[in-house]
Symmetry: C2
Subunit: 248 residues, 2 copies
DNA sequence: CGGAATTTTGAAATCGGTCAAATGGCGTGG
DNA sequence: CCACGCCATTTGACCGATTTCAAAATTCCG
């Protein structure tokens, strides 16, 4: 039910957990850093900001001052078009860095909202840039993360323009599966952090279509779904399905 | 017919044009730099690589060593899915930097191909990172460019998942228009660098649909199109069209 | 426990895709 | 300079996956 990741407590402290003692350090920004550099990063991080389900972390067009690392819970980001439509651009899980799409401007390019109770670490961008300047590994790592974000978005574009409803949903389930796996959680049995509505929006489908595909998958014995509780029964079949028409 | 940008010649030289004397310096990487820094950048740039139409600048999965700045001509980038389908992820014009989506890996995340005769400047990434390390403005500028790339891709996602064929094509025409404008070319009369096929692929449509929409637009008096030669007759109407259903 | 929100299910409508074929443009070579 | 042939573009008719509209069923929380 709860796919958040427990944060190992610092031995002698009930206080905020430093990067060194955070179980996410192998996923998050500190990944690239040695101990002394991690300390410096540690100093600029504002820890333990808690968001309730539905609460916004930042909103599009608001002044851009910080990126956020997800500690537990889950975040969705979305852009609002001029015609008022929302497009979800990503789901962020513990260890992910949110807000990189805003680094080209002094205002946020998207809105970030908590999908459930979520705790985050805030990292002021000006300080992050300063650190990156003196720490080549950090600079490199940020380049890496931003580039990864571009790739993810390109993958989404492919999904949206080339794949059927079934293929998109299979791909999303597998993507979530592998992300849970990387976080040492079960890759076959998890709880969706987002509503059907969010899935539909993200994948460019109608909610009804998402619902129908879920039941179809269930009837075909590919998954077992009860509400947000999902079990991947036949991963291989899902993988084949996600690939789409294989004769292209 | 030719929307390439002339490169101002260095007064006393028929040789390669340095960044200082390149008319694109206000669009390209040097944008962020003062004269002495520009010199250093200049030293690491391999100039005057020429690609013929259809020639590949780099291919997906090939070792990633350099980014490329477009000097004249036009480039398209695309990703190939596991099932062998191509999705064009961007069109790059003079002053644009190609290859940023590959900075998360040591292999290219996409393939880049020249749409017409194109000249580019090659910038080795390791040297670019070194320079960024000593030049905070350059680092900031690269963050900016990468973030912009994320935004662009998000915009594409919105287009693909929320907009009709007409809206997508109107949006593309307007986007090209503004990009030509920023390069001091006509924003109402230009030559498309890409084929209908590329437009269709980029926008997630069938070629036939693109063709139909073009003729529909022409009949409605929004544009005049003969082959790749495009004239935007009623920009306001196109803008309204690109917005999509305004009652959402 | 109750009411609202989410999810599911059904039937009908549609936009864009697919298939097929005609037309047009352009470079090459005679 | 023209004719050929190839490839890009256009046009037409039909089809199908997904959307839309409507309503029931279920779940979620306060």
């Amino acid at each position: 039910m709860n796919q958040s990741i427990n944060v190992r407590q610092m031995p002698n402290s009930g206080a905020k957990t430093s990067c060194q003692y955070c179980s996410l350090s192998n996923l998050c920004l500190p990944l690239a850093l040695d101990n002394s550099d991690m300390k410096k990063l540690d100093d600029v991080v504002n820890r333990d900001r808690i968001l309730n389900r539905g609460e916004q972390m930042f909103t599009q067009s608001a002044p851009f001052r910080s990126c956020f690392a997800v500690k537990s819970g889950a975040i969705k980001t979305s852009v609002i078009t001029e015609s008022g439509e929302e497009q979800i651009t990503g789901f962020f899980m513990p260890g992910d860095l949110v807000g990189l799409d805003s680094m080209s401007d002094d205002t946020h390019a998207s809105t970030a909202k908590a999908l459930e109770r979520t705790s985050v670490c805030e990292i002021p961008v000006d300080q992050l840039e300063n650190l990156a300047h003196v720490m080549p590994d950090l600079q490199h790592h940020i380049f890496h993360l931003m580039s990864q974000e571009i790739r993810n978005s390109h993958q989404l574009s492919v999904l949206l323009s080339k794949n059927t409803a079934e293929e998109r949903i299979a791909a999303l389930l597998l993507s979530l599966s592998s992300r849970f796996h990387r976080r040492k959680l079960s890759s076959t049995h998890f709880s969706l952090p987002m509503a059907r509505n969010d899935i539909a929006n993200f994948l460019g489908l109608a909610v009804e279509t998402v619902s129908r595909v879920f039941t179809r998958f269930q009837n075909q014995g590919l998954i077992r779904a009860r509400g947000r509780d999902i079990e991947l029964v036949n991963i291989e079949a899902l993988q084949i399905m996600a690939l789409g028409n294989p004769q292209a």
